[in-house]
């Protein structure tokens, strides 16, 4: 993971210690130009700016980090209680703040939440397996960059498979868990749907759904343990 940008340089010992203990990579920079100069190729993972010592410099730093081409996010601000009123005017300078003096656990929790949000937080509900991508919100599927045109039942079946990879299911299990009701006769229904799924997956990926003879079907790689 890319390092977190920390300001000022050197940062308060408590901050450095907390980051180290939590296992974050970080690098301190005195000002915006230093930060730009020593920026990693993939950009900063985020930034922590301590504002209780030098508010002026800290807010300048925030502005600089946010007005760049690639805004640095997430940005955590550390302020003293007396600065709380100022924050109202600087809403766009930070994503979260922490009161100083802070408890290491609180800082850790805030960082965790900020990075969680930056990652999956904003993303939609997605099921992935290898090249296969299912977007549960839009009811769309794709194999790599090729969109799959699936019917409703095909989609539901594939969704069930993709969320239970490696496990083998009998036709009866599939009928009751995908079709969702007690089913009389018609185990061949599963066969046909599997066949159509394999056809739409294409020859290359047809093996994703394997038949387990005299049992049923299994999706994805077999797992021995």
């Amino acid at each position: 993971m890319e390092p977190i940008l920390v300001s000022p340089d050197p940062p308060p010992p408590v901050l450095a210690q907390t980051l180290d203990l939590a296992g974050y990579a970080w690098k301190a920079c005195a000002n915006a130009s230093v930060a730009s100069a020593s920026e990693p190729a993939d950009g900063w993972a985020g930034a922590i700016v301590v504002a209780d010592e030098d508010p002026e410099g800290a807010f300048m730093m925030c502005r600089a980090l946010r007005k760049r081409d690639a805004s640095v996010e997430p940005l955590l601000l550390i302020v003293s209680g007396t600065q709380l009123d100022e924050l109202e005017q600087r809403s766009d300078f930070f994503d979260d703040f922490c009161l100083s003096p802070f408890h290491p656990k609180e800082l850790e929790a805030r960082l965790h939440h900020l990075f969680w949000r930056a990652g999956r937080g904003s993303g939609p509900e997605i099921v992935e397996y290898g090249d296969l991508v299912l977007n549960l919100e839009t009811y769309q599927a794709a194999l790599g960059d090729r969109p799959l045109d699936l019917t409703y039942m095909e989609y539901e079946l594939l969704k069930f498979f993709a969320t239970h990879p490696g496990k083998a299911f009998t036709r009866e299990q599939l009928l009751s868990r995908v079709w969702g009701y007690e089913y009389y006769g018609g185990a061949r229904t599963v066969d046909v749907h599997v066949r159509r799924l394999r056809a739409k997956l294409g020859e290359e990926h047809a093996g994703l759904i394997q038949t387990v003879r005299s049992v049923g079907y299994r999706f994805g790689q077999s797992r021995i343990r």
Copy 2:
């Protein structure tokens, strides 16, 4: 502005006092079902859940508020220092948290920032999607430079679609979130309105509203992720 949902009922006096002094409208609810029952027509403006007294109930509340059809946002959690470790497992339950006991100023600052961010998200009074432009203030719509003459319900439906692009909705979801009440019978109502919308959008843009067979409808370009 719609009121903020507060839990538990009654909330700690400090919280109530802070909210009142800051000028927020709020309403306390003991649990999720009460919250649903007394929800305003336009939904809650956000939620504050106090978790240091009854953690179990509080987290159940958060889960319920987040797993609904229309997730309640933003959600601020108030926890004690000993609960910080738990938060890591509940990242999706809240947008920000505040340590208890809290300083009123800190809570105020967090609320201000949360609502500021929510405001940026929903955007100003204009909703755009491709050529489509909706002016929420004047209740006017246009497709490129051609103005659209929409009736009230058509406008509301299109507005909902345009603010939730890509996501598929069932007819029931559309009825409850656009028409705004529990609906008996008449799922075909949605069909007819969709049909008229497509007609007014013109042949060129009729594809903006796609039908997802045996599910419902989806607006906008297909997004896999």
